[in-house]
Structures are given as structure tokens and as C-alpha cells.
């Protein structure tokens, strides 16, 4: 996989979520995503960015345009130095929330992505990466 372009944004306040969405949209459009695919990855980005703020205490987002052979894609990596996730499987369960949400952000983002990965341990912070291909 080749990284064509990589940009990093802070994810600390709710306005940052809007900025992340906008930049993800730009990358998705450049990769030639359909409107549906754009919307999917932008929405996934919105979910994970908000979790980074709400549960991770803020962090940053790396947004990358990538290619694999002739396929174009967008890869996102959100990292924070927050409390981490104790039980990743449980956090990925539909409806599981510790913050009074719908508990659909993580699982929904996973369904909206082609690749999805969570690295997290208590006290170690959380890194969520996901990618969507054209």
C-alpha cells in the first residue's frame, strides 16, 4: 500500500469533528468515491473522532489517500492517550455505551468501513484505524 498524501488534524473540541469530516470528504472526492461511499467514510470518521474527544480526552486524526495497485482508498487513524478500552469486543457490541449514547458508533463505523482495527488497552490509550476502498 502506497500513501499518496497524509494529513494530521487535532481532535480536541467538537469543531474539530467538523474539520475532520471536511478533510475526509476532500480525500474521498479525490479518490473518486461515489456519493454513497463518501458519506459512509465521512460518517465513520465522525463517529470515531467524537469518541476520541468524548472518551479518549482528545487526540489526533491522520487522514491518508492511499493506493493499492490500481485501487484508491482513504485510510484514517485516530489516536488518543486516554483511559483505553478494557473490553474491545464489548465496546463493539451494538448498543453498548458508557456515555449515554446509542452505542452504535464503533460498530457502525466498522460496518461502514472495508478495514477496521482497534488497538487499545487500559491506561494505554486507543488507536482506531479504518480504511475504505473505491
Amino acid at each position: 500500500m502506497i500513501v499518496e498524501k497524509s494529513e494530521t488534524l487535532p481532535v480536541r473540541v467538537s469543531e474539530d469533528v467538523v474539520r475532520v469530516r471536511q478533510l475526509v470528504r476532500v480525500h474521498a472526492v479525490k479518490a473518486g468515491f461515489s456519493l454513497v461511499d463518501q458519506t459512509k467514510i465521512v460518517t465513520a470518521a465522525s463517529e470515531i473522532a467524537r469518541n476520541t474527544i468524548d472518551y479518549g480526552g482528545g487526540g489526533e486524526a491522520r487522514i491518508e489517500s492511499v493506493t493499492l495497485g490500481i485501487r484508491k482508498g482513504v485510510r484514517l487513524t485516530f489516536s488518543d492517550k486516554g483511559p483505553g478500552i478494557e473490553d474491545i469486543e464489548r465496546a463493539l457490541r451494538d448498543g453498548y455505551t458508557t456515555g449515554g449514547g446509542l452505542g452504535l458508533g464503533l460498530s457502525g463505523a466498522k460496518r461502514l468501513s472495508n478495514e477496521f482495527d482497534i488497538q487499545s488497552a487500559p491506561g494505554q490509550g486507543t488507536t482506531v484505524s479504518l480504511a475504505r476502498w473505491k
Binding site: L35, K40, T43, E47, R50, G101, L104, G108, L112
Partner: protein, 305 residues
């Protein structure tokens, strides 16, 4: 930094007021300060206020003796902040006084270099403080302006309109953060109570991203409306948004329509009304009747953020 001997500033300002006014206004023009019909009066007032402050020997401009000078500066700073001037432009009102004032001091002190150094240091100290104060007020006014604009935007972007007896609608536009949703929810509920509406249409054509947070806000609004006795219809869910919501796993347990027109048709039917074409216009049947089935057009493809 109190001057050991009283400053000559007050007498100087008295004696050379006219000359100073003229030179200062020229200096303001040169520095790019807006000089208008009010400038004469303002310059006069500021020199008088400066005289008052300087004769008090208080060398801190936050002191009560400097209240009149601060008044003038506050007024200017507010005005400029409202007009969208830059802080530099604004503070140049004060700083452009330095050159003409120092020139006067130089002339007045003659060969007394010690005196001149002291007088200039004193005047510089005062004008710098007054300049800083100007920037401070300017900054605060800017923030007030921005805060007010944000509030206005919040209200502006959430107009609840009455479409018909018993039918109201709110077209949502832009990013639905928590603050805005709160405002939407409140004004919608108020309108339901005020108009006794049975049906509230929430149109999200202009909402670029519907994630779980937005969905949750919508669901809360719908439940609250229900408690007030009104049913909600959500309209303007574009196809890409619909697909995304499904993948997210969100169930919007509420009637939804592709367009506001479709939603309105349903609302009319539900409240026992019908839209009929006038005789001679071809079709007699109402559009409202098959509103439920209408796939409808799906708004503008995409709304940016």
C-alpha cells in the same frame, strides 16, 4: 513610574491644543486611521481627557483620573470592532499622537536634555498603556460581536414555520451540534404548544452528515414532540444518508419522506385535508392522496459543511 517633578504635559496640552489637534489629525491620516466628521470632536475630547489624566499625576491609566480618556478609547474600539477594522488600525489612533506630542515636548524643553528625556519617557509610558487598553477593549468587543453573531446564527438557522393549521415544519441546515439541536428542540416544542400543531415536519435536506449523535438528537426531539401530542415526520433523507444510517444500525422509528412536499402531503391527509386541482386543470385527484407512495425527488445531491 512617577515623575519626580510634575510633568509639563498639562500646560503643554493647554497652550498648544490647536497645533496638536492639527498635527495629530494629519498623523492619523498618514497612519491609515479613518478620519471622518467625528474626528475633530473626538480628538478634542481625547486631548482634554489626556490633560485631565496627566495633571492628576496618576501614572496608571486604569486609575479613576483617566476615566474620561478610557471612555473615548472604549467608544472608538467598539465602533472599530463592529466595523471589522483591524486592531492595528484601531490602536494607531493613540500611537499616531506620539510624533506630534514628542515634537512639542522637544520644542518646549529646548536644551534641557534631562527634562526632555523624562517628559518623553513619561508620555510614552502613558500612551503605551492607553494603546494597550485600546487593544484590550477592541479584543473584548470583537469577541462580543462574534458571540452575538453565533447566537443569531443559532436562532436564524432554526426557523419553525407554520405550513397549515396544525402542521408546522423546521428545515434544519448545517451541522447539528448539541447547542443547535437544543435550540431546535426548544423552538419546535414551543411552536407545538403555541399553535396546537398535530404534525411537525423536520426536514434534514440541509444536514450534511447524520451520525449517531445527530440521530440521537432527532430521536429525542421526536419523543419530546410526541409527549406534547404531536407526531413528527422526518423529510429530506437523501439516498446516501439513508444507506449510511442503515449501516450505522440506527433505527429512526418515525415516519420519513423523501421530500418536504411529500411530508406535507401526508400531514394534510392525516389532518383530514386534501389538495385538489382546480376544475379545468386536467387531473382532479389530489397529489396529497398518493403522497405516501411517492418516491419523490431527493433534494440537492449533497450539502457541504
Amino acid at each position: 513610574m512617577a515623575a519626580p517633578t510634575p510633568s509639563m504635559l498639562p500646560q503643554l496640552l493647554d497652550k498648544h491644543q490647536a497645533q496638536l489637534m492639527k498635527d495629530w489629525l494629519a498623523g492619523q491620516r498618514a497612519a491609515g486611521v479613518v478620519v471622518d466628521v467625528e474626528s475633530d470632536e473626538r480628538v478634542r475630547r481625547f486631548i482634554a481627557a489626556l490633560r485631565q489624566g496627566a495633571s492628576s499625576n496618576a501614572d496608571d491609566v486604569k486609575n479613576a483620573d483617566w476615566a474620561a480618556a478610557r471612555d473615548v478609547l472604549e467608544q472608538i474600539s467598539r465602533e472599530r470592532a463592529l466595523k471589522g477594522s483591524t486592531p492595528v488600525e484601531t490602536v494607531m489612533f493613540v500611537f499616531s499622537l506620539k510624533d506630534p506630542l514628542f515634537a512639542l515636548l522637544r520644542r518646549e524643553c529646548g536644551s534641557d536634555a534631562d527634562r526632555l528625556a523624562r517628559e518623553i519617557a513619561n508620555a510614552m509610558h502613558l500612551l503605551d498603556q492607553l494603546g494597550l487598553y485600546t487593544v484590550e477593549v477592541f479584543q473584548k468587543s470583537r469577541e462580543e460581536v462574534i458571540g452575538r453573531q453565533q447566537e443569531e446564527l443559532l436562532e436564524l438557522s432554526t426557523p419553525v414555520v407554520q405550513l397549515w393549521d396544525g402542521v408546522i415544519a423546521v428545515p434544519l441546515i448545517g451541522t447539528l451540534d448539541s447547542a443547535r439541536t437544543q435550540v431546535v428542540m426548544e423552538s419546535l416544542l414551543e411552536e407545538i404548544v403555541r399553535t396546537g400543531a398535530e404534525i411537525a415536519i423536520i426536514d434534514i435536506t440541509g444536514v450534511p452528515t447524520v451520525d449517531t449523535l445527530v440521530a440521537q438528537h432527532l430521536l429525542k426531539t421526536v419523543s419530546a414532540a410526541r409527549l406534547m401530542g404531536a407526531d413528527c415526520i422526518i423529510s429530506g433523507i437523501r439516498p446516501q444518508i439513508a444507506q449510511t444510517i442503515v449501516h450505522l444500525g440506527v433505527e429512526l422509528d418515525v415516519i420519513s419522506k423523501a421530500t418536504m412536499a411529500d411530508a406535507f402531503a401526508v400531514a394534510l391527509r392525516r389532518t383530514g385535508r386534501m389538495v385538489v386541482s382546480r376544475a379545468g386543470n386536467g387531473k382532479g385527484a389530489s397529489k396529497a392522496e398518493n403522497g405516501d407512495k411517492a418516491a419523490g425527488k431527493t433534494g440537492a445531491g449533497q450539502s457541504g459543511e
